[in-house]
């Protein structure tokens, strides 16, 4: 492995990536850069083009246009570009008629570079040691998902590309997956993680790209996105109808909507101060004005659905965006 090269080039550099399936444009010009040590969230609703993008990164499908470089190497040109890279797209797959261990033995043989010596450790990490001698055909979804992680770990990767790794897992499995990913990141691994489970991304990722219809609608730090999106407030007044009209007329009040007898909107502090005065002048006295922290979910909706989506503010439960 060319470590000198690997350290000087970003783990993932994607430029102008396009994938077209006859009439359908699955990925429409994606640019992104993943830096060393990032846990990078690739976030979007069903059909946004996440899996298609990751397939191109792994060299499984040919881009219609654009380039992918992994540590500066082109995965379309040679599988050498995947040295130090591991991962899977959609659910990981194995030979159902072989045992879990034998599947890993096969993949380790295909990896070379000492991968066979890592099998036991990898099985242990994903807690599959006791089921390793069962045929994969009899594995549950969650077990296959964990075997997928084990298969990726065999390569001792510096970059891990995971496509919705927690999909289909029960709450315990999801937590285990998050703990594992965080641990890998702490060990210095760069992780690219696609997801439509927002709390998962928010919890794990330091940077995100939000995609919709094959386009990136936001790329950057979550903190920056949150700051730019402002704070969401909940307002309750003595005359909500009048208050609504006042809010509508105010500058700097965004995402205005009414929700369960409350008025919800997004604004910065200055706009809120002006608003409170306007409300008093209009005779709608404030009963409660509660700032909520915008979750990525709110941000996601304000980015991808525009102004019209009436959404509850920051619900604590993990909610899947679509389906």
């Amino acid at each position: 492995m060319t470590d000198a090269l690997a350290s000087s080039q970003p783990p993932v550099e994607v430029r102008g990536l396009v994938k077209r399936y006859s009439d359908l444009i699955a990925v429409a010009g994606v640019d992104l850069t993943v830096e060393v040590g990032d846990v990078y969230g690739y976030l979007g609703p069903n059909g946004a083009g996440k899996t298609t993008s990751l397939r191109m990164m792994l060299g499984l499908i040919r881009p219609t246009a654009g380039t992918v470089a992994l540590f500066g190497r082109d995965p379309q040109a040679s599988v050498r570009a995947l040295d130090g890279v591991a991962g899977f797209v959609e659910a990981p797959t194995f030979y159902p008629y072989l045992t879990g261990r034998r599947n890993l033995e096969l993949l380790a043989a295909f990896d070379g570079h000492g991968a066979p010596t890592r099998i036991d450790q990898a099985l242990e990490t994903v807690e599959l040691s006791d089921r390793a001698s069962d045929r994969v055909g009899g594995y549950s979804h969650g077990m296959k998902q964990r075997l997928g992680i084990a298969a990726a770990l065999l390569r001792d990767p510096k970059l891990m590309i995971l496509d919705e790794p927690a999909t289909g897992l029960d709450p315990g499995g999801m937590r285990d997956m998050r703990v594992l990913i965080r641990r890998l990141a702490e060990q210095g691994m760069t992780v690219v993680l696609s997801s439509h489970v927002l709390p998962e991304v928010e919890e794990l990722c330091n940077r995100v790209a939000i995609v919709q219809h094959g386009r990136i609608v936001y790329e950057g730090r979550i903190a920056d996105l949150k700051r730019s999106a402002g704070t969401t407030y909940r307002l309750s007044t003595t005359d909500d109808q009048r208050a609504m009209a006042v809010c509508r007329a105010q500058h700097g009040i965004r995402d205005l909507r009414s929700d369960h007898d409350k008025i919800c909107f997004t604004a910065d502090e200055e706009a809120v101060a002006t608003l409170s005065q306007a409300l008093v002048e209009a005779g709608a006295l404030i009963r409660a004005l509660v700032p909520g922290t915008a979750t990525l979910e709110d941000l996601f909706f304000s980015l991808t659905e525009g102004e019209d989506g009436a959404r509850p503010v920051s619900e604590p439960e993990p909610v899947e965006v679509s389906r």
């Binding site: 499984l60 030979y95 072989l98 096969l106 295909f110 000492g114």
Partner: protein, 274 residues
């Protein structure tokens, strides 16, 4: 540690074959057909011969059994057994969605292709050699390990006859190699095991039909089906190499373009789905 290559893929493809039912289905058929054949001879030994080559020898020498088997199994049995694995070897990866798993390791697509193609060929060789050996053994038990009359009418001693049987099986493998290539091509193109297996067999049978059509008998020497009889040249005295050499290049004309197509399709294809 040695880096992985075609040999790694080849070894693991053979391992995978050991764990799949269809492997034993094909090998089982390859072994069962000569046994059934010998059983049939046993119960019909009163009827004297048929109108095909070696027929009258079936009850005199066990060595006639593999030869008659080749005569009859030629265009369907062995192509079917061959196609069972060749047609499946890429399509099953599509079926299991495992291509994405193996293509994201450290092997180039060309290396994966090479290992798989070799494994499919190995299976065909194993099936035919198994069938031939079972035929020799079962035939010898039934009719004795005796000398044989060649197609030119000369008598061939039993040991020499055995040698000719195995040489004949080897020559028979030439058109089988073309069938392997066609199977691999259909396996990569259709991505569907059943379609590829049936398709390969259909091609083998349809090619034979062309020669039967009126006015097309001139195509006979260039048909793949004809090459399945090339081994008969060995059973003439002196040995007639002409049909064997002819078979070699005709089969190459069928096999190599198919193999090249399979290779290019596999190299260039999108691995989506699964």
């Amino acid at each position: 540690m040695k880096s992985p290559g075609v040999a790694t893929v080849y070894r693991w493809e053979l391992t995978k074959l050991r764990y799949q039912k269809r492997t034993y289905l094909g090998l089982g058929a390859a072994a069962a057909v000569p046994i059934l054949f010998v059983v049939a001879i046993h119960f019909r030994h009163d009827r004297r011969g048929g109108d095909f080559a070696f027929a009258s020898y079936l009850t005199k020498s066990g060595l006639a059994v593999p030869l008659v088997l080749l005569l009859f199994g030629a265009v369907w049995l062995f192509p079917l057994i061959t196609a069972l694995v060749a047609g499946d070897i890429f399509a099953s990866e599509d079926h299991n969605g495992t291509l994405k798993t193996v293509l994201t390791r450290s092997l180039e697509r060309g290396q994966i292709f090479g290992g798989k193609a070799l494994a499919a060929a190995t299976y065909a060789v194993a099936a035919i050699m198994l069938s031939g050996t079972v035929a020799v053994v079962a035939g010898s038990i039934q009719s004795g390990f005796n000398s044989l009359q060649s197609l030119s009418g000369t008598i061939v001693s039993a040991p020499k006859g055995l040698e000719l049987v195995y040489l004949g099986l080897l020559v028979y493998l030439i058109p089988i190699a073309a069938i392997v290539c066609i199977g691999l091509m259909l396996s990569t193109i259709t991505r569907n095991s059943a379609a590829a297996v049936v398709g390969t067999l259909m091609i083998s049978l349809l090619i034979q039909l062309i020669g039967i059509l009126p006015g097309l008998s001139g195509t006979q020497p260039y048909l793949l089906s004809t090459q399945f009889n090339a081994w008969q040249g060995l059973l003439r005295t002196p040995t007639d190499w002409a049909p064997i050499i002819h078979a070699a290049w005709v089969c190459a004309c069928y096999g190599l373009p198919s193999l090249a197509t399979a290779y290019l399709v596999f190299l260039r294809r999108d691995v989506a789905g699964g």
